[in-house]
Point group: C2
Chain length 242, copies 2
DNA sequence: CGATTAATTGAACCTGGTCAATCGGAGTGG
DNA sequence: CCACTCCGATTGACCAGGTTCAATTAATCG
């Protein structure tokens, strides 16, 4: 028994734009089921072409890709509300994998319906493109981070971004939020070595800016952290939810 | 007097998918003019919200963004057929700038018509999303490059990608193509220093794999270069042209 | 001809990587 | 309940890929 879209708990969060009743009903027909996965599970595999698209209902994960010498690049971190599989849906093949890092619940859509969505529901098509543009925007920022920021700036930047994203989803209590990744995940996301990532985290803790232990992130001074990260604190703009 | 879409010289190249006559006529109505720029000109500015979208008819450029300490990250290189301004068109604001590196001719579209495009022409809307997905794919690869590849691998990778892109556009003659960027552009694209980029280029030349001088790129051994770059030689898939 | 921009080269230095060992917690089997 | 094993986190020592500084060359331009 799957949740009705109209009762979807995500829709109420201020991180997401509201849909009209009619739009919600359409998404309900688009939806073909729900998927539940355990931590560590691979939801989408690089190079594969799955018949499904997903929206994350709860839980967190990572997108990553591997190069032929075995190294790994974490593309970004997956949060509730994220739309997965656009690449497979449009290009026919995923360019990265998606792995669960916690228990996850996913809303499942049928890839073959994407075209009918474009044909019959331009506003939803627009939303998909909107999400793709946001993703592109974010990847550009990440590129600038890995390419230009120092290790300390990079780690600080990642923490600011993760924290703001979490806050927009109501996951923050008392400057704390759950961050169920490993230091290796973070290292591979920032193009740093595991060892140096660890030492950099120690330094941020020592500076009393932020600490991350036992899968929990605590931010002590967001503004100062952002300053170190060469960025500014900006609320995440509400996004469409599919 | 601007070119009629139906006579657009780009459409004939095998890098692009064919459109039906009806689709071409629609694009003709969507098109509002042409823009010509000189090398160095800024076509779109980071943070601005321009009323225009562009398709590159000829010439090359770069997309880049600056961080608050003055450093610059080149996001990628702009080729004929590229669609510019999607971010401003959808998100209302560009997250990066676009600068011309040669004389350029651009096809101009009106941003306010984007919505009508989604409403009335789902196949074109689909194409826009397709392009956004390709862009996302490419940025992921770039991320893996900057994050995981060594300097030699990175520069080799960039050359392979640029060469393949150029070849798909018919810009290659005898393993040569025009590459009107500076070493600084390349350095900022790969997150390397100018000096080290220069030395790495020397090494690739010394290895008889590729050389780049006087704005011309010459590839001597594409397969071997790709091997150094930890990648494979894959033809660029034909893309929609807007 | 001076001024500016891009490319090139050498040398010193340092951020961050590699290697290696240890620790602590969670799970597992005896 | 303890021994054993894994895995992630942590720390120190050493090292190198790549940065920074600095100087020179070459080409273009008013």
């Amino acid at each position: 028994m799957t949740t009705q879209c109209r009762y979807c708990p995500l829709r109420r969060k201020r991180a997401f734009l509201n849909l009209s009743r009619e739009e919600i009903e359409f998404m309900q027909r688009f939806k073909t089921g729900e998927l539940t996965t355990e931590p560590g599970a691979t939801i989408l595999m690089e190079g594969s072409s799955t018949p499904q698209l997903f929206t994350v209902l709860s839980g967190m994960g990572i997108r990553d890709k591997k190069l032929m010498n075995g190294q790994r690049q974490v593309i970004n971190f997956v949060f509730p509300g994220d739309f997965l599989g656009l690449q497979a849906g449009l290009l026919g093949e995923m360019s990265h994998s998606v792995e669960a890092r916690t228990h996850m619940r996913l809303c499942v859509f049928d890839r073959s319906e994407v075209w009918s969505l474009f044909r019959n529901h331009p506003s939803r098509a627009f939303d998909i493109t909107w999400l793709a543009a946001v993703e592109e925007h974010f990847l550009g920022e990440t590129l600038a981070t890995i390419g230009q920021r120092t290790a300390l700036q990079s780690v600080a930047w990642a923490m600011v971004k993760l924290f703001l994203r979490g806050r927009s989803l109501g996951m923050v209590t008392n400057n704390h939020m759950s961050l169920p990744f490993t230091q290796r995940d973070m290292a591979d996301a920032l193009g740093l070595s595991l060892v140096h990532t660890n030492k950099t985290l120690s330094k941020l803790k020592e500076l009393q800016l932020a600490s991350w232990a036992d899968k929990r992130l605590q931010i002590n001074d967001l503004d100062e952290l952002a300053k170190v990260a060469l960025t500014t604190v900006e609320e995440v703009t509400p996004r469409p939810l599919l």
